[in-house]
């Protein structure tokens, strides 16, 4: 992939942000028919439907509705939950901590598992160890998060009692303990991608002439591994981790639900099931913005790691 400069990346992210705002606004207008009816479902009474239509201002021109939505969103007002009657923003803020903690734990666990596994496989490509490391994480691809979570709960919580079966809260240590199994589930779901790409990147780096040249002139082996192999392999690996952040975040939605963690993901699933439209819309907007932010950050980290990209020059490879 060509490597555009940081500025171009930023411009494109801004366009994406604008489009995300428009798309989330249009959520209720995409479906054919009456949006209010779509929100309330087929069982709702005509009175309730028209009441909601009044409340959401659905009879006004589309542009006016959008400007209204935009001006509120900019001020942090994402509407009011139909089910709970409180503002979506406050609902979300109250639920943010467990989700952020879970995503962070998952990302850290992913890195902690990926680096040694990939290094092990890359040591001797084609060996038995390599085949095992390449094949076993692949099985994780077909491992449904919800089912894996159930199995872990049965084994480590119900039978062995090592970790709580779910929930979150209490002291930080208790919370952290509650996050071990959920983080493991999410990490395993993206491990196939990260191990694969870091392994390939490491093999490529290890075979490069500059590694042979450094070894030949007497650079100590550990330093060759750190400064030459890892440092160069990190660039593509960071990109893969960043690109899969969306997938990781998506999986936390499911995992939170199964482990009964009171986070944003569980809130979203519940809101979908209870047809609480403002919550779904607000959460979608915030999560999408966060993913765009992560991707942008990935790109900037990559530019930081690779001096060839710093001046907006095209990559030589």
């Amino acid at each position: 992939m060509a490597a555009p400069s940081a500025r171009r990346r930023l411009a494109r992210a801004l366009v994406a942000v604008a489009l995300v705002v428009v798309v989330t606004f249009l959520f209720i207008h995409i479906v054919p028919g009456d949006p209010a009816r779509a929100i309330l479902g087929p069982q709702a009474s005509p009175d309730a439907v028209s009441a909601l239509r009044d409340r959401l201002g659905l009879d006004r021109p589309l542009l006016a509705q959008f400007l209204d939505y935009l001006s509120h969103a900019v001020r942090g007002d994402l509407g009011t939950s139909v089910a709970e009657g409180v503002s979506v923003t406050s609902l979300m803020v109250g639920r943010a901590a467990p989700t952020v903690a879970l995503v962070l734990c998952s990302a850290i666990l992913t890195v902690v598992l990926t680096v040694p596994l990939a290094a092990l496989a890359a040591r001797r490509p084609g060996s038995l160890v390599d085949h095992a490391v390449r094949t076993v994480p692949l099985l994780g691809l077909g491992l449904p998060a919800f089912w894996f979570a159930l199995v872990l709960i049965q084994v480590f919580a119900v039978r062995l009692g090592w970790f709580p079966a779910g929930g979150y809260g209490g002291s930080p240590l208790q919370s952290l303990r509650a996050l071990v199994l959920p983080a493991l589930v999410t990490a395993v779901s993206i491990l196939p991608f990260t191990v694969q790409s870091l392994r390939v990147a490491m093999i490529e780096a290890a075979d490069a002439d500059f590694v042979a040249a450094a070894r030949a002139r007497g650079v100590p082996p550990w330093r060759v591994l750190r400064r030459y192999v890892f440092r160069n392999a990190a660039v593509p690996a960071v990109v893969v981790l960043g690109l899969n952040m969306g997938w990781l975040v998506g999986n936390t939605l499911i995992v939170e639900k199964v482990f009964a963690i009171p986070g944003v993901g569980a809130l979203l699933v519940d809101a979908t099931l209870s047809r609480d439209f403002p919550v779904v819309q607000g959460l979608a907007l915030v999560i999408a913005l966060l993913v765009i932010g992560t991707n942008l950050a990935t790109e900037l980290v990559r530019i930081g790691l690779d001096p060839r990209l710093r001046h907006g020059k095209e990559s030589l490879r």
Binding site: R215, A216, R217, V219, R223, R227, Y228, R231, K313
Partner: protein
């Protein structure tokens, strides 16, 4: 006194699906201090593999199975670098780590291996960059490889190679990717380093005319073996092996234009197992039945060695400058 580099009966094996191949088979050669030895041959003749084996950086899957490599009389392990030889590669871009500055490359070994202080290592780096003829070294020391031209990168590679104070410099086609004028300056620099530092240089290339301008002695490699060896003058003026002659005849020359060049039909063989006889015979215009039982290198009339059974005829003919059948 021991020669600086002494390779004795070295074979490198590459196990593969269709059996083990030998990119280098029973090669012996020596390089003296302050000496430049050239190794020439087509691609796929095992020249690069030979260099990598000496440097202890064979690519994955290859290993030295027979023979010894001695540097300064001491045997070195071909499985790991000895630190006394340094190597520079054909493509100066891929030879440098793209995420490290020029200074980091050059100061690394003094600082990390030899324990020099930060300041001293930096000063040494600048000094080495100046020694290889990089102007404005104080400034360039902070540049990244992609910011330099090909010629400068190649100089940085040499400076980095010199940073470990090696006795022997292995060059793997270092100028193939460079322009002629840059190549000429590079060769001049190499000559100066040989003089100033008493370096030994083993220089691999497929460019015979280039070797003529810089080497004391030449080893001609074909299919993993040395087929002719001697002083540069002897090898180039009186080639005693048809392969050397063919390489010379294939190179275009400035002084006889529009003559037909002689191309060598076929291509170098893959060496599955020990093959009896001359490996060049199937492509050789002068092959006779005796070639099937050709032996190792032997001295010819003028004293330099050739593996060809008809080396005496060949030498006599090239001295008289007449066509030969």
């Amino acid at each position: 006194m021991n020669p600086l580099l002494e390779v004795d009966g070295l074979s490198v094996a590459a196990p593969g699906r269709r059996g083990t191949t030998y990119p280098v088979r029973d090669v012996s050669l020596t390089v003296e201090g302050r000496g430049t030895v050239g190794v020439v041959g087509e691609s796929g003749c095992g020249k690069s593999t030979l260099l990598r084996a000496i440097a202890g950086v064979l690519p994955r899957g290859l290993r030295a199975v027979e023979g010894t490599v001695r540097v300064d009389g001491r045997e070195v392990d071909t499985r790991r670098p000895s630190g006394e030889v340094a190597m520079i590669f054909q493509d100066p871009m891929t030879g440098l780590n793209p995420v490290m500055t020029v200074g980091e490359h050059v100061a690394e070994v003094p600082r990390r291996r030899d324990g020099l202080g930060r300041r001293a290592a930096h000063d040494l780096a600048v000094h080495l960059l100046q020694e290889v003829g990089i102007e404005d070294a104080e400034h360039r020391v902070d540049a990244y490889p992609h910011e330099l031209s090909g010629g400068l990168r190649q100089r940085v590679l040499i400076a980095a190679a010199l940073s470990g104070s090696p006795r022997l410099l292995l060059c793997d086609e270092p100028t193939t990717a460079l322009d002629v004028t840059v190549q000429a300056r590079f060769v001049a620099l190499l000559g100066r380093l040989v003089e100033d530092r008493g370096l030994g240089v083993l220089y691999v290339t497929h460019d015979l005319p280039l070797l003529g301008t810089m080497c004391d002695r030449i080893d001609v490699m074909y299919a993993g073996q040395v087929v002719e060896r001697g002083s540069t003058r002897e090898v180039l003026q009186h080639p005693a092996h048809p392969y050397t002659e063919a390489l010379l005849a294939a190179a275009p020359r400035m002084d006889s234009r529009r003559a037909r060049l002689v191309s060598i039909p076929g291509r170098p063989p893959v060496l599955l197992a020990d093959t009896a006889g001359c490996r060049f015979a199937p492509r050789c215009p002068h092959a006779v039945d005796a070639c099937d039982a050709a032996g190792p290198l032997g001295p010819g009339t003028s004293g330099h060695e050739s593996a060809c059974v008809r080396r005496d005829e060949l030498e006599a003919r090239s001295e008289r400058g007449v066509a030969w059948r």
